[in-house]
Symmetry: C2
Subunit: 327 residues, 2 copies
Amino acid sequence: MLILHSPMDMHVHLRQGDMLALVAPHTARDFAAAVVMPNLTPPVTSLAQVLDYRQEILRVTGESFTPFMTLFFRAYSREELLAARPHIIGLKLYPAGMTTNSEDGLADMRQANATLAIMEELGIPLLIHGEGCGFVMDREAAFLPVVREWAGAFPRLRIVLEHVTTEAGVKLLDRFENLFATITLHHLFITLDDVLGGLMRPHLFCKPVAKRPEDRDALRRAALDHPQAFFGSDTAPHPVTAKEAPGCAAGIFSAPVALPALAGLFEELDALDRLQAFVSDRACAAYGLTPMARDVRLERSAWTVPQSIGCVVPYLAGQSLDWRVVD
Amino acid sequence: MLILHSPMDMHVHLRQGDMLALVAPHTARDFAAAVVMPNLTPPVTSLAQVLDYRQEILRVTGESFTPFMTLFFRAYSREELLAARPHIIGLKLYPAGMTTNSEDGLADMRQANATLAIMEELGIPLLIHGEGCGFVMDREAAFLPVVREWAGAFPRLRIVLEHVTTEAGVKLLDRFENLFATITLHHLFITLDDVLGGLMRPHLFCKPVAKRPEDRDALRRAALDHPQAFFGSDTAPHPVTAKEAPGCAAGIFSAPVALPALAGLFEELDALDRLQAFVSDRACAAYGLTPMARDVRLERSAWTVPQSIGCVVPYLAGQSLDWRVVD
C-alpha cells in the first residue's frame, strides 16, 4: 500500500462540455487538486470566465477536488489581476500558435513586461508553454533565453516552465530560485523514437514533442531529485477521430494512468519514497499552497489499461500496470 | 515544354499483386526505367525470384519500361552472383529491422565482407539502406562509418547510399569516387517540421525520417550539382488503412508526382537545365548504363494531384502542380 498525501496534477486540460464530463472524473478521482489550463475556445481571459469554468468543472467532479484556475495570458491591468487573484493560481502564457488552441497567444514576448511587473508585485505566478519558433526539436531551447531574461528581470515572479522536455530546460532551474518546472508522465517514458522511430504512433504525439534519450534521462533525474521540479501531466484528451487522422491533433490523455504509472516508474528507479515530493510537496512549496486534507491510496495489484475511455484512447492503452488507485 | 531523355527513378518499391498493378503504371508512364527494390515478403534472394518478379512487373507495365532488378543482400556464392549478374543491377542491403519488410536484413555488418569482395570482383553494385541503430535522428550518421569502411576497403565496388537524408551523408560523397547517393523527391521538400512540427502528418512519415532544414538544404545542393547524386524516389505505397492508423506504416507514394514536382522545384531554384543530369545522366554514369531510347515530355500546365489513387494517398494529394507529363 502506498499513501500519497494531497497528490496534485499541476497541468491538466479538462476541456468543456461532454469531453469535460468524460475526462475530469479521472483527474478528480486520483488527485486532490489540479491546475486547469485556460486554452479553451475562446480562451479564458476574464474573471467571469474563470468562475464559470470553475463551476462547470465542480459540477462534474464534486467538491472533494480542487481545480486551481488559470487565466490565459494577455495584457491585463492591475485592477483586473487584483480582482482575479483570489480565484486563480497563475497566468498561463502561450507563444502564439505553439499548441492546441493557442492561436490567441502572445506573438511578441517584449509585450509581456508590463503585465509581468504587475504579476510580480501581486505575487501571481507565470506558467509558460516554453516553445519558440524554428525547428521542432529546437523550440524549447529557442525559448529558454526568454525564460532567462524574465527570471532575471523579475526575481520575485515565480515562473513555471511547463512540461519541460530538454536537459537544457532542466539545467536552467539551477540558475534561478524563482524558476520551476512541471514534468509530464509521458516525457518520463518516451522519446522521439517511440513516436516515429519504428512505426508512427499518433497516440504518442504531443507538444512539445518528445526529445532525445539524454533529455528523458535528465527529466527522470529531476523528477526524482530536483526541488523545483514537480508533476504536471499535461493530460490532453482528443477524440480518437482527431488522433487517427491525416492531421493528428497533439496531446496525450494520461489522467487515468498517471499515478499508477508514476508509482511503477519510481518503484523501478528504487525511489518510491520520493513520489510524495514529486506529486505534491514540491508544488506546494513552489506555489505556497496548503496541502488539501485528502489522501490517495495505491496498492500493488495489476490491471490492464482499457483500449478506450469513451471516444478517447488513453496513454498506455492495453498495457498492464502494477499499481492501481483504490478507494 | 521540357523534354527529358531516358528519365530513370533509381529507387522504387513496386510491391506485388493488386498493389503492383495499381502503382507500377505510374512509374512506367513517367520513367524509362527504375531500380526495383527486393524487400518483398519473402525477400527476393534468388535468381528465380528475380526473373519471376521481373515478369510480374512487365505484365503490368509493358516492355517500354525497363525494371532494373535487385537481389536482397545475403551471403551469396560467386556462382550465384555470376549467374544473377546479367539480370540484376545490384544487391540491396538492409540492416535488419530498419524499414518495411527488412526483418531478414543483415544484423552484423562484418558478415558482409566475403560477398562484398565477390561483388567488387564481378562489378556488381551495392545499394544500401544506410541506417544504423540508435536514436531515430542519428541513424544515418550512425551508419556512415560502415559506408566509409566499405568504400575504402573495396575501392572498385560501386556503393549507392540510398535515400540520403543528411548533410553528413552528402559530404561523404566527396571522399570516395566509388560512392554515390540517391535523393528522394520528398526529402528535397520536407523536414521533420512537416511531419510533426504542426499537426502530425502520417502521409509524410517515411524511413529514413525527414531531418533538419540544413540537411534538406544540403540535399538540394547535391541534387543540383553533385555528380555522384541522382534521383531515386523511394516511392513506397501503403493502403490508406495502414497509414491512417495507430501504427502508421513508413513510406510515401510519390511516383505519380515525381517528375512534375521535380520540374517545379528545379524551376524554382532556377536550375531546370540541371534536371536531365539529376534524373538520368548521373545515374547512367554511376551504373555504366546506356540510356534507354525514350523521351518523356512535360509541359507547364497546372493540375491538381488527386486525393487518392485507388487505396493509396499520393504525395502532395490535393495540391496544385505547375508541370505535367504529357504523352
